[in-house]
Amino acid sequence: MDPETPEHLLKTKRGEPVTMLEAISEALFEEMIRDESVFLMGEDIGVYGGAFKVTRDFLSFFGENRVIDTPIAEGGFTGAAAGAAHMGLRPVVEIQFMDFISPAYDVITNYIATSNYRGAGPQPLVIRGPVGGGNRGGPFHSQNVEMAFFHTPGLKIVYPSTARDAKGLLKASIRDDNPVIFEEHKGLYRAPSLREVLPDEDYVVPIGEARIVREGTDITIVTYGAMVHKSVEAAQTMENEDGVSVEIVDLRTLLPLDEDAIVESVKKTNKLLVVHEDTRTGGIAGEIAIRVSEKAFEWLDGPILRVTAIDAPVPYSGPLEDYFLPQTEDVLKAARYLAAY
């Protein structure tokens, strides 16, 4: 007899709201039901259900062949995922903290990302895990890893900011025939404000499409991940206190970048602020600025500005980390400067 679906994975079926973490669990669960070739690998994902409990009860439901507790060997099991992908499986690899993806950097960038181009065939696999600061995790449990991979053609990079997008994008990533790096912000995992009722249907959110979080006419903020929510806070304050109308574009996918959505918004508002939690130099703001310069220079009525973390490792102590991370007040200050420009 088939085991019963664990209660906590049926919230959407019951019409209950879910957190972003629960949305991710549901996406994994539903994809594993839908497609037998989907399987999971990672450290402590089976018996323990993952460091953040994303795969709680998956082992008892799907068994040891589809939920594999690995040795602590990110390079090794990511490489093994690539091999399994060649043979028609669709691996979803969990990196316990994305900071520890670095041992797999070699196989991801040299092997996986180049596979299709080299004629070795597609690499339908997902590498997912928690990222981001604000949890006093210090230098090794807080990083954002997107820009370490952004420069590697052949990869897709996804970074959702809501429960709905997380579920739809993770499903799309699993179904995608290309390798996807999927970043999940720890601070959003269980954020009560992000709980929402999801459609009780099999939906996907297409990779490569940004989302207009809020329409506006005076300034565009392009952002993603946890910074979407700080940007919304700032935009609301601007609207209430300054009468300034801010449009917010949530990239959702960083690679490939939805250039059209960015350019279209800038052509409407004529002003651009990029906000990212990742550090400043070599952050995605630079790439966005040059694309806007190429495609919409004539439309700009002010400098392109950015609000980012500072160029330092992520510090551990509260006051240091708060200073390191971009805050709502920083977004406000930059947006006000632009509005007045």
Partner: protein, 348 residues
């Protein structure tokens, strides 16, 4: 004194007990501090493993002028850190993320450094420190210094590429390094059998062409003896050496882990092999210490921890603006213009 005491005098034998008590008291104090909301981030216990760190570190050359042996401890080897001169108050400052901590709030818990005293704190990515210690001890060998290095790592860390690459490098280069495998039978929720197919890490030694031995990690004198012998060999040009400590992680991976995946009967069985209890009985039985002396040690270490923790609590957190300093030795990191008093980015 007898064979049994391995050349240690009464004071030395009692020193070991002091270090064991200090480790346990410090961690118990941390638990209390965490309940009171003073600890930033995770808290990791070494309950049942204290003797491994203490016995090993006690066998090494500990100096304060940068000429002694080098230690790389782990989160479960605080006893070694204390023996190498890591200050108790710094330990609490680190766990509390205080601005007065050795890393000025940038890094957590036992992740700190003092090259004069001879310890290099670990980083979180597992395996890395073997490579680092290989290089440190390579420098001892090429300069003809008779210093050695000791690096601790858990059973789980042995699965990483860095562990293999670092150990292989050390073995090939005959680096004067002792690798301590803290085999506490778990890596977070993963049993050792899921990190390696061999039943003992000593089986791996021959694969690298190095000597390896296993020791009861709950027996502080046995660990001391094994590391002392290994150190002699390594110091006199014998190359890299591995020592596996066998014991059990009696608490969860961290305080937030109730370790419900571990059979409680197994934990209870290991409680009977508590390293402090075992050594205490041995001290009394052999009359290496009196009951009064032991009680005094227990009370003193408890009090030291209480006093150090109280002092650390009163100290300030770092200023946020400090976050920009020290990224490079020379190139300053700019403060973000959004934090300056001027609203104009071009003036920042």
């Amino acid at each position: 004194m007898s064979e049994l005491t391995l050349g240690l005098e009464r004071a030395g034998l009692q020193d070991l007990y002091r270090s064991l008590c200090l480790t346990r008291a410090a961690e118990e104090r941390l638990e209390l501090l965490q309940k009171q909301g003073h600890v930033t981030g995770g808290l990791y216990r070494s309950l049942g493993q204290e003797a491994g760190a203490v016995g090993a570190a006690y066998a090494l050359r500990r100096r304060t002028d940068g000429t002694g042996d080098m230690l790389c401890h782990t989160i479960r080897a605080a006893g070694a850190l204390f023996l190498f001169g890591g200050e108790l108050i710094d330990y609490f400052r680190q766990y509390m993320a205080k601005g007065t901590s050795p890393t000025r709030g940038r890094e957590a818990n036992v992740h700190w450094f003092d090259f004069q005293k001879g310890f290099v704190g670990p980083v979180s990515p597992l395996g890395t420190m073997i490579e680092i210690m290989a290089g440190m001890t390579l420098s001892f060998r090429v300069r003809g210094e008779d210093r050695i290095g000791i690096v601790f790592y858990g059973d789980g860390a042995s699965s990483t590429g860095a562990w293999h690459e670092g150990l292989n490098f050390a073995a090939v280069q005959r680096c004067p390094m002792i690798l301590i495998v803290e085999n506490n039978q778990w890596a977070f929720s993963t049993p050792t059998s899921k990190n390696t197919r061999v039943s003992s890490f000593t089986e791996k030694g021959p694969g690298y062409g190095i000597d390896a031995e296993a020791v009861d990690g709950t027996d502080v004198l046995a660990v001391f003896d094994a590391v002392r012998r290994a150190a002699l060999q390594v110091r006199s040009g014998g190359g890299t050496h591995m020592i596996e400590l066998n014991y059990f992680r009696r608490k969860g991976h961290a305080q937030h882990d109730p370790q419900d995946y571990v059979d409680p009967a197994v934990i209870r069985a290991w409680e009977k092999k508590d390293p402090l209890d075992l050594y205490r009985s041995k001290l009394l039985h052999n009359e290496w210490a009196s009951e009064d002396e032991l009680v005094a040690i227990e009370e003193e270490t408890f009090e030291e921890c209480r006093v150090a923790a109280e002092a650390a609590i009163a100290e300030p957190y770092p200023e946020g603006t400090e976050a920009v300093t020290g990224v490079y030795t020379d190139v300053p990191t700019p403060h973000p213009w959004t934090r300056s008093s001027s609203p104009d980015p071009t003036l920042a």
